[in-house]
Symmetry: C2
Subunit: 136 residues, 2 copies
DNA sequence: TAGGATGTTGACAACGGTAACCAGTTACCC
DNA sequence: GGGTAACTGGTTACCGTTGTCAACATCCTA
């Protein structure tokens, strides 16, 4: 263990009850969730926390690379605590269940395509959506 | 030529001046553009057309598979006329310049990963973003 | 080709997710 | 413990997008 993953906070930020609660909830959940979803869950658990604070906290966690952000078809942002190394996702459309996947060949392919077309500062999004065996 | 690509309209829909204008503009543009962007461009060209109509037309074109839809980091939808076969995009973050790319190996990889995890009805999004040589 | 049924348009209002504001509160450092 | 700078959260504002509905255009039929 290189870092303390639980109750992980963003360096340079103060440790508050609210931030701890958001980080802690994300640690427990395996699926991608929307900000409003997380806010509702926190209140359901008795955490007094404002929606604004949830948005702010998620944003700073995302900026710090602590969590991953995806967009649903409707354009809503969804968040999930992920491992720190580069990876992609296999996400169930029904329940949000997520599997982290790796594809070294895909990384190489993307870099090659970008280079062939003289693009620089390359990033890519690769997400696979489907219906998981529980929902199938 | 199997189908008439220019002035392409959606089957079952009436052919109106506004729909023709939107489809025609998309035919001319090589880059991904937002609905508001397209609306502004059409008005600049003297086309009387409402923003609502632009949104509706883009939606029906997208539903019919006539155009591709992507989401920017900010969640805004952007649209582009694309070839009909399955492909992905290499998109310039600065100017929206787009290159259609293919990656058979990526398709196979995505299918394999999904199958290994027992996911069905699989789709995937693969987009590469970077800075093109003109903007670099 | 006229006339009507029905799909389409567009100004406007509403909506939903997200971000800005700012006064009150809290964590951190000495 | 006390000062200060960061944080919180209710509220308001924002922005992309969609719903509404009366006026209108298209297309079919006679």
């Amino acid at each position: 263990m290189t870092t303390d993953r639980n109750s992980a906070t963003v360096p340079g930020k103060r440790s508050t009850r609210q931030r701890t609660a958001v980080a802690g909830l994300l640690d427990q959940l395996a699926d991608f969730r929307s900000a409003q979803d997380l806010h509702e869950e926190l209140r359901k658990r008795g955490e007094g926390i404002g929606l604004t604070t949830v948005y702010r906290t998620l944003q700073s966690l995302a900026d710090a690379g602590e969590i991953d952000v995806l967009r649903t078809d409707s354009g809503e942002a969804i968040y999930r605590r992920c491992s720190s190394h580069h990876h992609h996702h296999l996400v169930c459309r029904e329940c949000g269940h997520t599997v982290e996947v790796e594809g070294p060949a895909v990384e190489r392919w993307a870099d090659k395509v970008a280079a062939e077309n003289k693009f620089s500062q390359v990033s890519h999004t690769v997400e696979i959506f489907g219906t998981c065996s529980d929902c199938g």
